[in-house]
């Protein structure tokens, strides 16, 4: 039985940014989906990646780890990584893990784009 239960779609937006819409569960099995979506965005010349968590069902600690490895790849390319659409619960998780110090998070996509 497949343990991948996530859909990640990269789409271009303004200001040379791409949004990766995350729908489903972010755990260790989501790694390929996340990295594939990032590669698609980066190959198309993205200067900023916005992770849209509004469709997130669930994220465990392995999923949080994926965000850190993604952050390294983004920084190596001189890009920015932002997040939007986090629920209150996962905004707390970002604060608890201090990921919010490295990945700025915004209420929605428009607010994230305004920061670029």
């Amino acid at each position: 039985m497949s343990k991948v239960n996530v859909n990640m779609n990269a789409r271009p937006v303004e200001k040379n940014a791409f949004v990766i819409d995350i729908v489903g569960e972010v755990n260790s099995f989501a790694e390929n989906s996340l990295m594939d979506a990032y590669t698609e965005a980066s190959s198309a010349g993205a200067k900023a990646i916005i992770l849209n968590f509004s469709g997130l069902d669930y994220m465990n600690s392995s999923g949080i780890g994926l965000l850190v490895t993604l952050l390294i790849r983004v920084k190596r390319q001189g890009q920015r990584l932002l997040a939007c659409g986090l629920s209150d619960h996962y905004r707390q998780i970002f604060a608890l893990t201090r990921l919010n110090e490295a990945i700025l998070e915004f209420p929605d996509e428009q607010a994230a784009l305004a920061d670029l």
Binding site: K3, E25, S61, V68, Q92
Partner: protein, 281 residues
């Protein structure tokens, strides 16, 4: 001081309810019906240890912040260790129940973990008393007392996050899962050495090798408890080969140095205690 439950047989952790179907952790709840929201620790700005085990100090945990891999100094490594429990019919949840209850007992000599009374639960602190090596392939001799916070815990996974001053900045995830009909126990770390001294220790003084031996010991001990020798494998990936010089200042919190300082100062604290004025009745 070891958890009493660490002496339990693994059979105790098998499900008594044969009719209860095993299911994976779905978004809303784990197999015990608990909401996964409660699997995460509550936000905390500074760590506190409620009951410090006798003989230990919380100087390297109290009032410290947790740190993720972006806060460390050294190269970032992701290391994955796992053991296949082939030939034994046991579910991932049953293995994890035993693992959590016996965590201290599975450690190699010289490495002591002290879970709180609540055990491995989100937000709890596991105190650690360890000996760090000075030279490669030699036993550890430098004492270090610190702790880690349980960041996340569900029925097949728990993750601990390190505080400032710990040898590594990041987290370790202990998990069990099924693959091709076999239950696998895995440890995965994503971390950087916290400061230049630790980075030197990991790269050149045997720290990395000792860490790998420790987790090999834990996993093979776990497998042995279930009557299998278990095939052990390890993979490591350098996620970021660059060091972060702006984090060199982390050496101020170095838990090994502070533990040594605490030990050296013990006679002076004892003398100071003798001369402390008695409290008025």
């Amino acid at each position: 001081m070891e958890s009493p439950s660490s002496q339990s047989s693994p059979d105790k952790f098998r499900s008594d309810k044969e009719s209860q179907p095993e299911r994976e952790s779905y978004p809303a709840q784990d197999v015990s019906g608990r909401s996964v929201d409660s699997a995460w620790a509550q936000p905390v700005s500074r760590l506190r240890v409620e009951n410090v085990p006798q003989g230990l100090t919380d100087i390297n945990v109290r009032d410290h912040q947790v740190v993720n891999p972006t806060h460390g100094f050294g190269q970032m490594w992701q290391k994955t260790y796992h053991v296949r429990l082939s030939g034994v019919k046991i579910t991932p949840a049953e293995v994890m129940r035993y693992w959590k209850a016996s965590f201290p007992a599975l450690q190699p000599p010289g490495n002591h973990f002290y879970p709180s009374l609540a055990g491995i639960q989100p937000g709890e602190i596991l105190m650690i008393n360890a000996l760090l090596p000075v030279f490669p392939d030699t036993p550890g001799i430098i004492p270090m007392t610190s702790g880690v916070m349980v960041l996340y815990s569900d029925d097949t996974t728990f993750t601990v996050m390190t505080p400032q001053g710990f040898p590594e900045s990041g987290w370790n995830t202990f998990s069990t899962f099924e693959e091709d009909g076999v239950t696998i126990a895995q440890i995965q770390s994503l971390a950087r050495a916290s400061d230049p001294v630790y980075e030197f220790g990991f790269r050149l003084m045997g720290g990395s090798g000792m860490q790998e031996k420790t987790w090999r010991h834990v996993l093979t001990s776990l497998a042995r408890q279930f009557g299998v020798s278990g095939s052990f494998e390890m993979y490591k990936t350098c996620v970021d080969p660059r060091v972060q010089w702006n984090q060199a200042k982390n050496v101020w919190h170095n838990a090994a140095f502070r533990t040594l300082g605490y030990i050296i100062a013990t006679p002076f604290r004892w003398i100071a205690h003798l001369f402390r004025p008695a409290r008025p009745s």
